[in-house]
Symmetry: C2
């Protein structure tokens, strides 16, 4: 293994008038893999059990969008605004083409970027995310989510065990292991996101949920795409992944059982094995 | 490669008062893989590009149910009846446990067998099939299917290019290649199925479509299961695979783009690679 998000130093790049925080993990012959993060997540929310195996054959680039972690600027209240910052970041690094893994909110940013500048991505992995105009996106007031978020005993990463994993013994155990892995990094950590980050990102979800036209623009994302979801995702329900698979012209859909929003963390060995195979393929078609 | 459905001899076994036709392809350390066939399909409808790679690590057993091909007896008009014959066949071969690949009608038989005798299967692959109580199962009168089936120019295997593949240039080319592969076997071929086979199997679909209770019994199929479908399947639409993934407690769902009922034949390299990995896994969980 050639690197780890447990130890990779946080770096900074000035681009487009902002300073962005990021980390580079591993390396290899593959194109870099840009990883775009979920609601309120920072560089420290990337599970090393996912980033590190993917980094064996390619450089994995983790990125804090504007206003998140130690990145400067203000959190945009639209996905399109987040896409603009991500372009500025990549331009600042001199990266004209890469692969992308967009998780949840990050998957929306990845879709927007693919529409705005199709040459930016070679292959796309969309995990636990939704198309523009999708249904039931991040409604944290739902009875399946709200009690966990309101529980004062579930501070910091620990609430993720409840809201990213299914309410079964096996999935909850995987969630506990995930939370423990996030705490392996001891130094150079990011500040956790506060209410201002959450509010702006939530506004972006609401804007993403109500577009002028539903789904038709997905026909323009021609990249080989891998869509991944847990069958019991309460935060962004599986119907959104079914819509992505039905509307993207070149997408393989992979759904895991007994898991929720964090299926990629629960099945980190299996997910990274299949995702690496997908990224290593050179076919114009998504199946790998 | 240790065997091929292009050349494997057709064999016969007497069991439970019937004589069943079958073929054994390949071999290896894995459990045998029983392959259960689609509507009107015989041993000759198994694509060697699917059977042969799977047979590199295990014996693949192809089976003509009662009344199909050179198997004796009468085609049952229920899936449960077909399951009974399949048990008699396996008992006749002395096989107490195996893996199964059930395609379309064969996937329904596989589900019924798993419910009737759970010890019979270790791992299950269900391709282009539907749960009991599923929707829009094999309605050949649909406008997307009927004209092809009524076209006298599309005789024998050639109609499969139209009804098993999506109406795109790439998928149709894959369909033509599939039809050509089915014709590679020159000797010892099965007689094609006639109207009596079709009528009895169609009655079985109708009975399968209208069960007393929908989906709940799927909770009893605990085997690691891989559910596979083409996104544009007109014969057994994708919603049925979504229902299977949502109701089976231990199933990974894999959906291919730009393909129909015959997605496993269109993406034979990719499908057999992933299916082999799934079958080679020993985890109690389906993800592999």
């Amino acid at each position: 293994m050639s690197g780890s998000n447990i130890t990779a130093p946080t770096q900074f790049v000035d681009a487009g008038g902002e300073r962005y925080a990021y980390r580079r993990v591993g390396g290899g012959t593959g194109l870099p893999l840009l990883c775009l993060q979920h609601f309120t997540g920072t560089l420290d929310n990337w599970d090393p059990a996912v980033t590190d195996p993917l980094a064996e054959d390619r450089e994995v680039i983790l990125f804090d969008n504007a206003g998140v972690g130690r990145s400067g600027g203000t959190v945009p209240n639209t996905v399109a605004g987040m896409a603009k910052h991500t372009f500025a970041f990549l331009d600042g690094l001199g990266i004209a083409i890469c692969d992308v893994l967009g998780f949840s909110l990050g998957g929306m940013v990845a879709q927007q970027m693919a529409l705005d500048r199709s040459s930016i991505f070679r292959r796309i992995i969309l995990v636990a995310t939704a198309p523009r105009g999708g249904d039931d996106i991040m409604h944290l007031e739902k009875p399946t989510l709200a009690p966990h978020l309101a529980n004062p005993a579930l501070r910091g990463f620990t609430v993720l065990q409840k809201i990213f994993f299914a309410p079964t013994e096996i999935s909850q155990a995987a969630g506990a292991a995930f939370v423990a892995r996030l705490q392996q990094r001891k130094e150079d950590r990011e500040p956790p996101s506060g209410p201002a980050v959450a509010a702006a990102q939530m506004a972006a979800f609401r804007e993403w949920e109500k577009p002028p036209a539903r789904f038709s623009e997905l026909a323009n994302i021609l990249q080989p795409t891998l869509v991944v979801s847990g069958i019991h995702d309460e935060m962004i329900p599986i119907a959104n992944s079914y819509q992505l698979a039905g509307s993207l012209p070149n997408a393989v859909l992979l759904v895991y059982p007994d898991s929720g929003h964090g299926a990629l963390f629960q099945f980190h060995e299996e997910f990274t094995r299949l995702a690496s195979a997908f990224l290593s393929a050179n076919s114009a078609a998504a199946p790998y």
